[in-house]
Amino acid sequence: MHHVIIGAGPAGVVAAENLRKLDPTAKISIYGAEREVPYSRMAIPYFLIENVPEQGTHLRKNDRHYDLMNIEVHQQRVDKIDAAAKALSLEDGSTVNYDKLLIATGSHPVRPPIPGMELENVHSCWTLEDGRAIAEKAKPGNTVVLMGAGFIGCIILESLAIRGVDLTVVEAENRMVPRMMNEISGNLIKRWCEEKGVNVRTSTRVDGIEEGGDKALKLSFNDGSTMEADVVICATGVRPNIAFLEGSGINTDEGILVNPYLETSQADIFAAGDVCQGLDFSTGSYMVQAIQPTAADHGMLAANNMVDGREQRHRGCVNMNVLDTMGLISASFGLWEGSGGDRSALEDYDNYRYLELQFEDDVLVGANSLGLTQHVGVLRGLIQSRTRLGKWKEKLMQDPTRVMEAYLACAQAQA
């Protein structure tokens, strides 16, 4: 039995490890496109602020981890899948056969279709290699423009600010982190950043970048204004890496389409993580979540289903995110925008505290929070267990901060 995994990110590595547990004698191979030891993108910002050395970004700390688990890790891009032949073509022209295949190729940053994105000092911040380049160029006093105030953009904000650059963030939507936080909390994050000395321009698009001026780059915006910058970092979103699947017979939409067993339209081929359009717990629909916990969950489940005789049905992952924007911690869970049920919110603008709960009947289905760091996981617990809150629903309508008590009282029947 040969299990092959394409992609050396969290989904791929977790899958490989779980496969080893479940199938001790099989051959397990990981193919990763980057010339790196498997590492975590989540850790790149902390590498940028020099909180961790490069090794600190590695998914597994023991140098011999993969050897000890008898998992082969290859730094080779997979160019093509031949599902009929159960074979892969690699970038060096060679071919590899598999019995079961997992596609965990993750995603890549999207670059807006504007002039100048190819210029030398315009970077994405996605790979460790990008991180090294940015660390090199974002020097104290340099002017840096960050395009996109989404999750990735926000997470590298602090690392850029700490480096002492003159920082401007440009976001096309009307608030920061628009796909994770609602208008109130997104704008609180904006004000927080502004108070910390970051220029934030929401509802603004970069129309083009050209070389020249006193600094390396000159940007023009949709409102007609311009500015000069030393470095531009593009963080305007990511897309699943599915281009190489063309002609493979694997059905795709935004990402790879899978069934509740994470199986693709081709037999013996599975998908997991950012590339996979998996089942969303809250909506029951299939969508790309592109978050770390989902990658890990997918990896576990896919590995299980790749082993003969094992079969687990996916109940869906709760979409959730946690973000530290220059020290302001925000989180979102499930249907944070609500789905027509009651909402309970507390807004403390002065102290940057915010908590909004979304209900369907007396069940919590989503939440947005700012400044909450204690017991925040119970928001997931309540959503995922679909716990009926009974009389605690009313108490949470009065004061959403009592969510931990509600959880203990209802989910654990402790009170």
């Binding site: 507390l346 009065q398 004061d399 009592r402």
Partner: protein
């Protein structure tokens, strides 16, 4: 160490907050909390000032062991001049508030002046600010607590607040923290409200460190906890039945003040005793007592958590009182029960809830109502004054009504809020006020317990059982049994208890530990925590110095030896039943000896020699 060595000075008139360094020379002399704050008070205010004027100051203060792992190490005190007595006020409370204040980095807060409009103090670690309390004014403590938690969006926020009774000028208003723990006596809440200060909210996440010798401190506190656990009183008696265990005991020994101290035994005591709180009731099969609860760090956990029978007349239409809250402690059950002749456990629990909700000292409230009931039965008061309510001894309806009107200050509630002394004077029967220095008695009749007579007469804050609890020796045999009817040796006993208590109150610990702990158990804990040497001798020296300092304050306030006395009833009317039948409080046999032990003149005034000996301020 153990002190944070920092405190906040909040000028309410100016709206300013300053951080100041703790006077460590004073800390070495007075340790902390009760003693140290009194040293600041006597330094900063004119003892003759009007207690409800901006000239009075209010000090919220912790001890060096507050917020540590020492058992019961969560106390704080409120020190100011009392509007009820004119003497020094020092009221001690448990719950979680004190430890939180310490964990925020503050040994104490000195409030001075008066705010032009209602405010509350918000402390989040080093950040302290005065915020508008317009929306809180006119609310009960419980309502204010809910609003503040919601405003600050923090379930862990600790709140100490005054209720409507304090706002309305009730002279025995308490400061209530954590919903049902209170700095209860002497009207400290009235002083707080007089400054337009509604609440103090605090969140402390810095923790309490600064321990001189941490390993030794852990050893000493663990040894102390073992002593408490093994002692039958603190290990079993108090957790099981709380202080209410005393109701039947004190009744049996004939020292249960009943119907405004006309009698010394109450026939309904068993119906309102700790045992009765465990009996399942008919309506729902549940007992009054749900469970015992502990204050911060307390390994005894004597606190009562109770519910009221939902079918009881007091709450049948008020579901907001159907949940659990702080239940009856002995003093409250006595004051509102035996002293008013009321034997209805649910009515007492309801009135107790109201005392917590609107911040009334249940001892003073109950004793004042008892005096009013006696005047009503004697015809000095009629339904004309009360607005229709028949204030008869034994009336549960009257009790519940009285708690409601004192809480809001409506109608006759304002009169009841004056306290027993002023109420009895107002209606022409001053001799019916069972008070010393204007403060109502607690639950031990000094005719059946002679040491308590001397305790009440000489207490620096007016009649009080928590200044020298000789009940411990005279009835319970801790540390040694003495004859309650005997006066010989009681002066020594009272002095020893007074000094030891002052030391414990200055450390940040609860006095209930002393049912098991001696100073040999306490001093090593203080010594391991605090810089300097804190031997048994030093602790007792601190205790006596604190006592002398408080006396000095009172003397400067114009309260002298002439007020070291008891109501005539207790000095002249013999007890009607029980072992003390025919006995009066023989204060004259004990007081001269006590003055001598204290080093005072025969009229009770301080001598220069004594003042110098204790290094008291002039």
């Amino acid at each position: 160490m153990a002190w944070t060595k920092k405190y906040l000075r909040v000028n309410l008139t100016e709206g300013t907050i300053k951080v100041e360094d703790l006077n460590m020379a004073w800390a070495n002399e007075y340790l902390g909390q009760r003693g140290l704050a009194t040293r600041y008070l006597i330094d900063e205010i004119d003892p003759k000032c009007d207690a409800l004027s901006p000239e009075n100051k209010m000090i919220m203060t912790t001890g060096p062991l507050t917020g540590t792992m020492a058992s019961t190490g969560g106390r704080y005190s409120v020190v100011c001049k009392s509007p009820l007595t004119g003497a020094v006020a020092c009221s001690n409370s448990g719950g979680l508030f004190g430890a939180e204040l310490k964990s925020a980095g503050w040994d104490m807060i000195i409030f001075e002046g008066k705010s032009a409009s209602p405010v509350y103090l918000s402390i989040q670690n080093e950040k302290a600010e005065l915020l508008s309390a317009e929306a809180l004014w006119g609310k009960s403590v419980w309502e204010a607590d809910a609003i503040l938690h919601k405003t600050h969006q923090d379930p862990q926020l600790k709140v100490a607040a005054v209720g409507r009774s304090a706002e309305q000028g009730c002279l025995y208003a308490a400061i209530v923290n954590d919903m049902h723990r209170a700095a209860g006596r002497s009207g400290v809440g009235t002083v707080m409200a007089s400054k337009n200060l509604k609440a103090v909210v605090v969140r402390g996440t810095r923790g309490v460190g600064n321990i001189k010798d941490m390993p030794r401190f852990m050893d000493a506190t663990n040894a102390g906890k073992a002593v408490l656990a093994e002692n039958p009183v603190t290990g079993q008696g108090l957790p099981a039945l709380g202080t209410q265990v005393l109701m039947n005991v004190i009744n049996e020994v004939g020292a249960m003040p009943t119907r405004n101290m006309r009698e010394t035994q109450f026939e309904g005591a068993h119906k309102i005793a700790g045992e009765a709180m465990l009996e399942p009731r008919k309506s729902d099969g549940k007992p009054n007592l749900t469970r015992n609860g502990g204050c911060f760090g307390c390994t005894i956990a004597c606190g009562r958590i109770s519910t009221i029978d939902r079918t009881h007349f007091s709450v049948q239409d008020k579901p907001e009182y159907w949940g659990n809250s702080g239940g009856l402690e002995y003093e409250a059950a006595w004051a509102m029960g035996s002293d008013c002749g009321v034997d209805d456990l649910d009515a007492l629990t309801y009135a107790n809830f109201l005392c917590n909700e609107d911040g009334m000292d249940p001892i003073s409230f109950g004793a004042t109502l008892a005096a009013a009931m006696e005047m009503f039965e004697d015809g000095d008061l009629t339904t004309e004054q009360t607005g229709g309510m028949e204030l008869k001894f034994g009336s549960a309806e009257a009790l519940c009504w009285a708690a409601e009107v004192v809480a809001t200050g409506e109608g006759f509630g304002a009169d009841l809020g004056l306290g027993s002394k002023r109420l009895c004077e107002k209606y022409g029967r001053p001799e019916l006020s069972m008070t010393v220095k204007g403060q109502e008695f607690p639950a031990y009749d000094p005719r059946g317990m002679q040491g308590m007579g001397l305790t009440y007469a000489t207490s620096n804050r007016g009649a009080c059982h928590l200044r020298s609890y000789t009940v411990s020796s005279e009835v319970l045999g801790v540390p040694v049994k003495t004859d309650p009817l005997e006066t010989d040796g009681k002066a020594d006993l009272v002095k020893a208890f007074q000094d030891a208590t002052a030391a414990v109150d200055s450390a940040g610990l609860c006095i209930f530990t002393t049912f098991a702990w001696s100073m040999e158990d306490i001093a090593p804990q203080v010594d391991a925590a605090c810089e300097g040497e804190w031997s048994v001798e030093k602790m007792l020296e601190v205790g006596e110095r604190v006592w002398q300092l408080e006396r000095q304050f009172n003397q400067a306030a114009g309260i002298g030896g002439d007020q070291d006395t008891l109501p005539k009833r207790l000095l002249t009317e013999g007890a009607g039943s029980g072992p003390a039948q025919g006995k009066v409080a023989e204060l004259d046999k004990m007081l001269p000896q006590y003055y001598e032990l204290r080093g005072w003149n025969t009229d009770g005034s301080m001598t220069d020699a004594t003042r110098q000996k204790w290094n008291l301020p002039a």
